[in-house]
């Protein structure tokens, strides 16, 4: 609802309030101005109506990944979501990330992500000669740089239905964020490790059915599915599902019958 003389509008917010035991949506009505984002309005609720409202935030510039929430059912960063997107009279719903356990109000425990991060084998750089430095060409590093934009907001983890709707899969599948990390390492030009078996057996890449929700919600604009997950699925197919390539690998590994030429 807009006030004609001041330009100030009023919005009704339905914010989830509760803790790990129970919770419910509480409605607040607060003013907001043109150009404001959802986090501004949540802060106004905190400042004027509900001083005990818990909300995690930090940079307010879409770089720290702290203020992730579900706004009208869609996982978004509150600091990057303009109020003008929701030009309507019905209340705006703000809920914590559903995939992770609620701590309090809009704050969730995202510890799962740090727990499984260690399952991705780290960079194994090629050994250099004494005095030699790694030289990396643009052609080799450009596809990896896209993955460096990840701010670990875990919106992709939240929206991924494999984790979101199937709690039991959390010990089998690490989620899109960590498959991006896997691709980043696997495609790194100085890396020497082969993570394809790990990707299949430990990280559960086969659980992803590439419905692209992670790509749709990524605030950093990373093409998670097309540039990270599918290329890794293809590499896993190289290793496990391509009989011709398996045969070629087997022939190559056959011991030589005569002296090396």
């Amino acid at each position: 609802m807009r006030s004609a003389d001041t330009g100030t509008q009023t919005v009704r917010l339905r914010i989830w309030r509760g803790d790990s035991q129970a919770g419910r949506f509480v409605e607040y009505s607060v003013p907001f101005n043109d150009g404001e984002v959802v986090l501004d309005v949540v802060h106004r609720v905190q400042a004027t109506l509900a001083p005990d409202l818990a909300v995690r935030w930090n940079c307010k510039a879409g770089k720290c990944g702290s203020c992730s929430a579900e706004i009208d059912g869609r996982p978004r960063l509150m600091c990057m979501t303009r109020m003008s997107l929701f030009d309507r009279d019905s209340p705006l719903t703000i809920a914590p990330l559903k995939t992770f356990p609620a701590e309090r109000d809009l704050v969730t425990d995202v510890g799962f992500n740090y727990a499984v991060a260690g399952r991705v084998p780290p960079l194994a750089p090629r050994q250099t000669e004494p005095g030699e430095h790694h030289r990396i060409w643009d052609a080799d590093i450009e596809r990896v740089q896209e993955f460096h934009r990840c701010i670990e907001c875990f919106l992709c983890q939240d929206v991924c239905h494999v984790l979101r709707d199937h709690e039991s899969n959390k010990n089998k599948f690490v989620g899109p964020r960590h498959l991006v990390r896997l691709a980043e390492l696997e495609m790194h030009p100085i890396d020497t490790a082969d993570r394809r078996a790990t990707a299949r057996h430990d990280l559960g890449i086969s659980y992803c059915n590439i419905t692209r929700c992670c790509t749709e919600v990524c605030p950093a604009g990373i093409a998670i599915t097309d540039n990270a997950i599918i290329p890794m699925k293809e590499r896993v197919a190289d290793r496990f599902f391509d009989p011709l390539r398996l045969l070629a690998a087997k022939l190559r590994s056959r011991p030589d019958s005569g002296p090396a030429k």
């Binding site: 494999v162 419905t211 929700c213």
Partner: protein
């Protein structure tokens, strides 16, 4: 999307089993190309004998069917639309249990690259058909059907060369792209097409159906193909 896919499946099934009106010189319906059985109205290559009694389309239609069914883009479409896994982003799965593509039958989608090889061969045949569509009994000519066939071939190539498996095989699988300049360029080119893979997937799918319909209408005499032939 679900409606579009469902409509195409219905039309394609009907057209495949028609076994008639798929050739109107010099146009051959893409559903029946290459026509390889002895009972073809227009035979591309004599690979299957007269023992093949059913529609000749059945000898080849499994290739584009398998290619599109295992396509990473169309997998998204049918997982969402028909499997309801999930029906939409942040909407709960329809089923309580989920194993993704880790078990049969969905693990079979990993054979996508083999369907890519076959689809690549099929795109060459479709290109040949498009070239043949400009040949009017030994004279060069341009008909509306020629342009439709040409568009069909261009869309099929755009879809096939932007395939995720193609992108991987031409260069994506390499750790050091700088050491393979040609494969690096091929990978870059495939990546450009890959960004629009869904668009080419839908347009090529729809255009294949439209091309078949056009050939069918010309063949049955419902419409006349406007053409200019150089004598």
């Amino acid at each position: 999307m679900a409606m579009g896919l469902f409509a195409f499946i219905l039309y394609a099934t009907w057209a495949t089993f028609q076994n008639s009106h798929y050739y109107a010189a010099p146009y051959l319906s893409p559903f029946y190309s290459p026509c390889v059985s002895a009972n073809c109205t227009y035979q591309t290559a004599p690979l299957v004998g007269s023992w093949w009694k059913v529609s000749p389309a059945l000898a080849v239609v499994w290739i584009p069917l398998g290619f599109r069914t295992s396509c990473y883009y169309f997998r998204r479409v049918y997982y969402r639309s028909f499997w309801l896994s999930p029906p939409a982003c942040a909407v709960a799965d329809a089923r309580p249990r989920y194993s993704g593509e880790s078990r049969l039958p969905l693990i079979l989608n990993n054979v996508h690259r083999y369907f890519f090889y076959l689809a690549f061969a099929l795109a060459i045949v479709d290109s040949w058909d498009a070239v043949a569509a400009f040949d009017f009994s030994g004279h060069f000519g341009i008909g509306l059907g020629s342009l439709i066939m040409l568009t069909d071939a261009v869309l099929l190539w755009s879809y096939t060369l932007g395939c995720h498996s193609c992108r991987h095989l031409v260069g994506g699988r390499l750790k050091l792209l700088s050491a393979h300049r040609i494969r690096y360029r091929l990978w870059k080119g495939s990546s450009v097409l890959n960004r629009h893979h869904g668009l080419f997937g839908w347009t090529s799918l729809g255009w294949v159906g439209f091309t078949d319909l056009y050939v069918r209408l010309v063949s049955t005499g419902v419409i006349t193909d406007p053409r200019w032939v150089l004598h």
